[in-house]
Amino acid sequence: MTLRNRELVNLLMVGLLTAAGFAAVYIARQEVVSAGSLSYAAFFLALFVAAHVVVRVALPDADPFLLPLVGLLTAVGLTMIYRIDPDLALRQGLWVVVGLVAFAGLVLVVRDYRTLDRYKYVLGLTAIFLLALPAVPALGRTINGANLWVGVGGIVFQPGEFAKVLLVVFLAGYLRDNRELLSLGSGRFALPSPKHFGPLLVIWGGAMLVLFQTNDLGGGLLYFSIFLAMLWVATARWPYVAVGLGLFAIGAYALYHVTPHVRDRISIWLDCSWVFSSDCPVYKEGYQLAQSIYAISGGGFFGQGLGRGVLVTPEGNTYIPYLETDFIFAGIAQELGLAGAAGVILLYLVFCYRGFRIAMLANDGFSKLLAVGLTAALGIQAFIIMGGVSGLIPLTGITLPFVSYGGSSIVANFLIIGLLLMISNHVNRDTA
């Protein structure tokens, strides 16, 4: 079987699963959802088959598992959102359309991703510009205590999601150029000269600035982790990681003492997670995390069933605020149980495996670093939010890639998939 046929078969299986998911929600919530909405599954499958056709034409040798994996993650998210609010699912569906159009545009227009290397400084500056956008008074929007959004007219979007992609492209180019210099240094624990060490400090400062400005640990943690991961892959020098983590800890510690918002997050995490002590303010600041943990623990091994979990109040609100975005993992655990939650985690793991495999097969440094960075970005982001929602680490509000509701996130992540498929196509054609 050719790679593309294998991809198509996988996608058809994803389509079947999606249909089953939507049917389950429909059966459980007939009074709320209309029979017409069952066609969402067909619509969804058609979208991914269209994406498949684009790949078949433009990237015939690309990895056959990435698109079905992303399709399944998107389907899980769409089904959960549909179960929470069918209207929201329709909008998410439209965002998937926009995301796939952006994906097709990237694949068909850019053709050779290596040309991006030439624009790395432009892209890096654009990333910083995007990150700074929410700070512009007329544009910035504060939602749930974090200034991550930009509003133009009626459209609100999160520039940070796109900045993430651009930063990875910049870092791939920059580190490829400087990895020899950065790897220098005499002795085991010696650091290179400040000239080469400088960019690390600059990036650390940038991440901290983002942290302060967005008032949220999540973004800063994500950008900094991506940076460290790529730096380490490029140089193989663990002192970078140690120093980097130390600097991040210092920054986070300072933030803990300066920002009440961050302090609250940490103290809630200490009170509510692991031991779930009676100090946990279940009706106040800890409400969100407590409800999330309740939902996860109530799911059991196989869940309450799609549409049958305790997620929506009689008034139609969700028990967990922001269930459809940041907390969607808790909803999955409640309705699909440990099996479903572990399944989603496994999908991310397989995704990381495929992504890193592309990186390992690649011949040039730029492709390697780009594939590693993009894959790690998604994997780390998934871990940060799932860990936060389940109480493993302090809660920081970022989206669960492909699953959470949110236009910026969906579109940006489809761009990542586009890039990974392009690298894969290039790599496989070279080796074939």
């Binding site: 009074e31 193989a236 943990i293 440990l338 496994l346």
Partner: protein
């Protein structure tokens, strides 16, 4: 770079494994978390179950039923509890709500009412219902409460603070369980402030307090039945032992005067033990108490079930044990000298008892000394009509010798025939009883009592009535209510 990429993958894989472990950890903690504050899981799950109905003893009168709520946003049917009889049986039946959890039988029988009991039939039915996609149905509960007599008791108590309880001495079945002030359980959800505004001639009005099993009253002279049982059982005193009543009893060098509860002259002179009970002469019981000692009275009280929660099917927090209390706590003195035996013998000292306990005292006398286990539940019926549990009569306490019970029956019959409780006489039925008027230390705020059983031989009804904040005597205030309840239970209209 490939070795680093491989290691990076293992780092991420490790983090994902930690995530799965964390999720599993919450699953393991689920039983603990389910009951936590603000966890909607359990409550919502209960709301989707069609709870069993609660019936009166006739199996027809409905005390608790369900109202279906179909809201579009819910996407499924929820069941909200309704109580068609309002405040009539609020205390024994209780309530089941979203906001304030549950009380009464709704709480203690929740497993049966929601069909989550471990009965094989129930499990089978639930499985079949689940496979069919049907709503889970709970088991129905048929109580032992006689709706008609309950109505009589509640209206007789209306406007007062007190309780009345009647049970069958031979089976322990509770026939009447009335506590006033009461409340409408339909208001608990959403309009709880209306319940908080209820007023009554006692402060706090505490309408949620079940005065039958939780209300602590001073027993006064009704406790003389227990003292008499101790004295007769020990052989220290017989029915015909004579005493000289001087109108007072000397304790610790001080005079303890007789109280207004006794009928007839203030000083009776020479009387038999039987006459002392008939006229409720404190001085005589004071002497008896001194003679047999506080220890033997406490021991006898324990034979009657004092110092224990009567094993009725209500939540433990709604049942208070009877006995001596000190600083709001049950007090079982190691040193009997710490208790004044004279005042203890006629039910003062620091005695606090529930009407349920005193009804069980009367029931013990009526049933030849054996107190049957009190029960509010007659049977539990599966949705398919099959009886899955039926309460069988069971002996709870051997309170006294049968001979003592027979003697006490004769003595208590005399109380109604010619003593302090003539107001409880019913034509054609021999009633045995004992009044009580307990001083609380404040004028016009006595606890008044009447405990009785009828018919005197082969009794099928034992009753206790207790009222607080009364200015009259037990014979004048409580006995007529007990009489009305007995008549209602015997099928006569008061």
């Amino acid at each position: 770079m490939n070795p680093q990429i491989r290691r990076l993958f293992f780092v991420l894989a490790g983090l994902f494994v930690a995530l799965v472990a964390m999720t599993t950890y919450w699953l393991w903690k689920a039983p603990d978390l389910e009951a936590r504050q603000g966890n909607p899981t359990l409550i919502v799950r209960q709301l989707t179950i069609e709870r069993g109905l609660i019936y009166a003893s006739d199996g027809k009168t409905v005390f608790a039923r369900n109202r279906k709520v179909r809201k579009k946003s819910l996407g499924r049917t929820w069941f909200v509890r309704r109580y068609p009889r309002g405040e009539l049986v609020a205390h024994p039946v209780g309530y089941s709500t979203i906001e304030r959890a549950r009380a009464g039988l709704e709480e203690s029988l929740n497993d049966y009412l929601t069909g989550s009991n471990a009965n094989l039939d129930t499990i089978l039915n639930n499985t079949i219902d689940k496979l069919k996609g049907l709503t889970r149905r709970g088991n129905d509960v048929v109580t032992t409460i006689d709706a008609r007599a309950q109505r009589t008791a509640m209206s007789a108590l209306a406007g007062k603070c007190g309780a009345a309880v009647a049970l069958d001495p031979q089976t322990g079945k509770v026939l009447v369980w009335a506590s006033q002030p009461s409340y409408d359980p339909n208001l608990v959800e959403g309009r709880f402030n209306q319940i908080q505004r209820i007023t009554a001639p006692c402060r706090p009005a505490a309408p949620l307090l079940d005065r039958v099993s939780q209300g602590l009253f001073i027993p006064g002279s009704t406790f003389k039945v227990v003292t008499a049982a101790a004295a007769l059982d020990s052989g220290a005193v017989t029915q015909s032992t004579t005493f000289v009543d001087r109108g007072y009893c000397i304790e610790y060098g001080k005079r303890v005067l007789n109280y207004a509860d006794q009928s007839g002259p203030e000083v009776f002179g020479t009387v038999s033990f039987s006459q002392a009970l008939e006229h409720s002469i404190n001085a005589v019981f004071c002497e008896v108490g001194k003679r047999i000692g506080a220890r033997s009275i406490i021991d006898k009280a324990k034979d009657f079930g004092f110092y224990e929660e009567p094993p009725v099917e209500l939540p433990s927090q709604e049942i208070a044990p009877s006995g001596l209390y000190r600083n709001g706590r049950l007090y079982d003195p190691r040193d009997p000298n710490a208790v004044d035996p004279g005042r203890f013998a006629f039910g003062q000292e620091r005695l606090q008892v529930t009407p349920l306990q005193m009804a069980l005292v009367a029931a013990g006398v009526a049933n030849g000394g054996e107190i049957m286990k009190p029960s509010l539940v007659d049977r539990i019926v599966a949705p398919n009509g099959k009886v899955i549990q039926r309460t069988k009569p069971d002996v709870w306490k051997e309170a006294m010798k049968p001979r003592t019970a027979a003697e006490l029956t004769a003595m208590m019959t005399a109380v109604v025939e010619s003593g302090t409780a003539t107001s409880a006489q019913i034509p054609g039925v021999q009633v045995a009883g004992k009044t009580g008027t307990a001083e609380t230390g404040r004028q016009g705020q006595n606890d008044t009592w009447f405990i009785a059983f009828a018919p005197a031989q082969g009794a099928r009804i034992a009753v206790a009535v207790a009222l607080s904040n009364q200015s009259g005597t037990g014979g004048g205030t409580a006995a007529p209510i007990a009489k009305a309840i007995i008549e209602a239970l015997l099928g006569r209209n008061a």
